[in-house]
Amino acid sequence: MSGIETAGWDVIVAGGGNAALCAAIEAAEAGARVLVLEGAPKDYRGGNSRHTRNFRCMHRGPLSVLTDSYGEDEYFDDLIRVTKGETDEGLARLAIRQSEDCLPWMERHGVRFQPSLSGTLSLSRTNAFFLGGGKALVNAYYNTLEDLGVTVRYEAQVTHVHIENGQFEALDVTLDGESLRILGRALVLASGGFQSDIDWLARAWGPSARNFLIRGTRYNRGVVLADMLEQGAESVGDPTQCHAVAIDGRAPKYDGGIVTRLDCVPFSIVVNRDGDRFYDEGEDVWPKRYAIWGRLVAAQPDQVAYSIIDSRSVELFMPSVFPPEKADTIAGLADKLGLPADKLTQTVEVFNAACGEGTFSPQELDGLATEGVEPPKTNWARPIAEPPFYGYSLRPGVTFTYLGLKVDETARVSGPDGRYANIWAAGEMMAGSILGQGYLAGFGMTIGTVFGRIAGQEAAAHVV
């Protein structure tokens, strides 16, 4: 084991997801001796990348599986819309511009793309989907690293970064139950956010965060991020915020991933634990609203809500991974969901009475709105009237946290005395620089790939 401590690593990469792997590949291809330290066991390697499904990519004409074109300005406008301006324009445009070169690079390194999945046609122009999803991408990159002769260690938790005079010297690492000090000449940090450390999440957000579900890996505990911040590394992103969406309340605590999403809200009424409605379920189409529902549910008692539909709506959305609760009466459904039966019956009756005449049209904003009920439902307001009735529980599912390390256009990290000589960061760990708020589908993989590659190239150039 002592061999690994003094093996003379040119570049050490802390992390094992998309950004870490892109950095390791670039550094190894530049001739550096590279060590990858992945905190997770091999079965769960890849961080949140293993749950991803696509890569948002600028392109000036049809490219691989992408149709038509998607220019820099349109891409940037999309980003401004979701972040409400909370971005670093220079870094954002860098990520956008370089994404076009990344797609062929990804293909050369074993990633395979497939046309937009059924049910996601709206993304066929902007997002290139991975054949088999993010885990297939992660597998391809680990195979590339193996072919390049890169050493990868799993269950290798970095606990401390030794920095002397603005220069990285060594890492403290727990590996196979031993504490090691591993020397290296350059360091790439790509070990994600802190959303899986529930205590940290509760300190940042408030105690209700203990009831949140974590959609991705349980290994993003922010250990390295915390260590760097303690040493005075410059940070970006709101330390109290996380990106959360409303997901199936029965999802596992960690790693539920894509299948736990529920698309039924626009065709339902949503009530809280007490049987009360609390927000306009029909405000907009679901892809534009699912993110705010994470926060809405988080604000309800016990951080739980219930989406109620009738038999006419059951096939209007993507199938759920868990079957809904089902009953012939609203009271019966309330019993199964653990809701007060009288109250739920009353809420449904009031809602139904407020529904007017009109044409229900699930694929568009149909303007079928309630009258005289608070909160209103402004589209798809059709009575919950045809048994059997179905109910799903909803909980906030955390995707990622915004707090990260501030980097420059070369992905270099800064400390209390200016830029560190030999420390770079990529991926979720620095994504807060660009995504200050909100989320744009497939953009996390873009940031990870672009800045992972830059970090790997820069780190290698520093030592080789």
């Binding site: 749950h51 497939q114 059924s118 597998n139 894509i258 299948v259």
Partner: protein, 363 residues
């Protein structure tokens, strides 16, 4: 006793487990581009037993979905779709093969198939000993044409009748419609190219190299399949030459039976032993584990059939002919008779599944 295979109820355990997994897949869809099984799956919201059996028979066990899956163990969803569908498939072939129980025997027990082989060879030795022909050339000097036909005609027709009944039951279970030329055309193209083993983009499958793609299994299977068809065509051409043209064996090297049979035998032998070698390297937990022995015995039997045929040709004119003839014909006899109950059945049901899939895509 009934000829109606469908009167036996499906194995609810394997179908229920496959349904559980397929419902998770249907909420994810990341694997859509690998093969025909996923688009077929994603066209449904609820899965009846027939739907599951159809999806299972569409699956060629390329394993791409397993290695890409974020929900395999130790994840609590414990997805292993290649295994779940293989279990349903094996059960379905058991169920459709009349009389019931033989499928379970020969598909799952390599020992059973080996025993059948020994019996087949012994039968041929016995036939040679008891029915020595008065005259004849080549191997007809060992066993007369009449005796061969008397043994092999029923040994060929019986499995065909059983398979036809099984396929009829399959077709009813999966809700098949009347078959049109376009359905057969699409199915034949996809079967002939082994499209469902190419990973969706021609990169191959994940059989013997884990999460790396490889063409080895597809190539070995193509050699086996086309080698077998060439051997079958060789025998058929010999039969036609015998009856229609009065040209009797032995045939020269430049005759149709030999031009088809020698390359066919080589392909079949190399392909089948290649498949056996790949099977040793692959993870048995991603297939029907209970059928591993029977499947291995089956590919070895295929390889042995090809190899003994080649040796039989190589030793012609020597004293080794009677022994080799018994070995070769014994292997062929076993292969034919066990067709509805061995892995050999997969080709027929898989083709039916491809035809049904062509129909559903048109619908």
């Amino acid at each position: 006793m009934s000829f109606d295979a469908a009167t036996q109820s499906p194995s609810t355990d394997t179908i229920a487990e496959a349904r559980r997994q397929v419902e998770i897949c249907n909420a994810c869809r990341y694997c859509e581009g690998f093969c025909d099984a996923f688009p077929a799956m994603f066209a449904e919201r609820a899965f009846g037993d027939g739907d599951i059996v159809q999806i299972a028979n569409l699956c060629h066990n390329c394993r791409g979905c397993y290695y890409s899956c974020q929900y395999t163990e130790p994840h609590e969803f414990a997805l292993n779709l290649p295994q779940a569908l293989a279990d349903v498939r094996v059960d379905s072939w058991d169920r459709y093969g009349w009389p019931g129980g033989l499928g379970a025997l020969f598909q799952r027990r390599g020992v059973a198939l080996s025993t059948a082989l020994v019996a087949g060879i012994a039968l041929l030795f016995l036939a040679q000993a008891m029915l020595t022909p008065a005259s004849g050339d080549g191997f007809y000097a060992v066993l007369s044409h009449t005796v061969m036909v008397a043994i092999f005609l029923p040994a060929f027709l019986f499995p065909m009748v059983v398979l036809a009944l099984g396929l009829r039951a399959y077709w009813r279970d999966v809700g098949g419609a009347p078959v049109r030329w376009t359905h057969l055309h699409r199915a034949a193209l996809r079967a002939g190219q082994l499209k469902n083993l190419d990973g969706g983009q021609g990169q191959g499958c994940n059989f013997e190299k884990g999460d790396r793609y490889s063409q080895a299994r597809r190539h070995a299977h193509q050699a086996t399949f086309w080698g077998f068809l060439l051997c079958f065509a060789s025998t058929s051409s010999g039969t036609l030459m015998h009856y229609l043209l009065g040209l009797e064996a032995p045939y020269g090297l430049l005759s149709l039976p030999k031009l088809l049979g020698v390359p066919g035998g080589l392909l079949l032998t190399l392909g089948a032993f290649g498949l056996a070698g790949l099977k040793l390297k692959a993870d048995p937990q991603l297939g029907a584990q209970k059928a591993w022995g029977g499947e291995m015995a089956f590919v070895l039997l295929l390889g042995l059939t090809g190899l003994t045929g080649l040796i039989l040709y190589a030793v012609s004119g020597t004293g080794a002919v009677p022994a080799m003839l018994a070995l070769h014909l014994g292997a062929v006899l076993t292969l034919f008779l066990t067709t509805p109950y061995s892995k050999m059945a997969h080709g027929f049901y898989r083709f039916a599944a491809l035809v049904r899939d062509a129909q559903q895509r048109q619908a």
